[in-house]
């Protein structure tokens, strides 16, 4: 996985230029460290310039470019794209996994949403609140109760958008 701090629109281009990483020998995705996963942090200065349409545009281009990458590599297996907002790290994250109708690797409860909008809404709302000082993080210098933590993780509901990339006959 790759963490990038987005400080300008050019940083989006860096992500778009990357191709999907596929193990050409076995014609499958490498099974280590989520090589096609990206973690997007934003500088506060750039975040204030960014809007939802620009983000939507980026993700549309991302799916288009990765689909093109599959065509170039003649990769016939379906690939599942999924994206979410990591509220703790204040990052937009996405990944591509081989297959469709796959179980996504989250420890919490996930809610599949039919567009990126709820994810963007949560992202902009949360980060704006943090920057405005209206959202506070509770910090204490002691470890919590593990059982309570596990309960909270299981019951945490995360919005996740998914889309399957699949080559069709016209892509050959």
């Amino acid at each position: 996985m790759t963490h990038i701090t987005i400080a300008s629109y050019k940083d989006f281009e860096k992500i778009l230029k990357k191709q999907l990483i596929i193990d050409e020998k076995s014609s499958s995705f490498p099974d280590f460290e989520y090589p096609n996963m990206w973690l997007l942090s934003f500088t506060p200065k750039f975040f204030k310039k960014l809007n939802e349409n620009e983000l939507q545009n980026f993700f549309s281009k991302l799916l288009e470019s990765r689909h093109h990458s599959l065509i170039e590599k003649k990769f016939r297996t379906p690939v599942t794209f999924y994206a979410w907002f990591d509220q703790q790290a204040l990052q937009l994250r996405f990944n591509f996994l081989q297959g469709k109708d796959i179980r996504l690797p989250f420890g919490c409860t996930i809610k599949i949403v039919d567009s990126m909008k709820p994810i963007f809404d949560d992202f902009f709302s949360t980060v704006n609140d943090v920057l405005d000082g209206t959202l506070y993080f509770e910090v204490y210098d002691a470890s919590g109760d593990d059982d309570d933590d596990a309960y909270e993780v299981k019951n945490y509901v995360l919005n996740v958008y998914t889309q399957v990339l699949l080559l069709n006959e016209n892509d050959q």
């Binding site: 963490h3 934003f42 420890g107 993080f137 910090v139 210098d141 909270e152 993780v153």
Partner: protein, 67 residues
């Protein structure tokens, strides 16, 4: 969050738990907390690459420190 007195990093339970991540680890920076890495159940760093500047996104003035 729990502060490791040796490394001075702050550890928090990962609520999303993607890919076996159990903790999120933050560093105290000049202006606030920087996310540093995700860690697995035994605290090992889940390896990743980094591109671009490090961004601080949780300014101290927006954190309530509890006793």
């Amino acid at each position: 969050m729990y502060r490791d007195p040796q490394t001075k990093l702050w550890w928090s339970r990962d609520t999303g738990g993607h890919g076996g991540s159990s903790y999120k680890v933050f560093r105290e920076g000049a202006r606030g907390f920087d996310w540093v890495f995700d860690a697995d159940t035994v605290g090992n760093k889940i390896i990743g690459k980094h591109k671009g500047p490090i961004g601080a996104f949780i300014p101290y003035k927006e954190v309530i420190f509890l006793p």
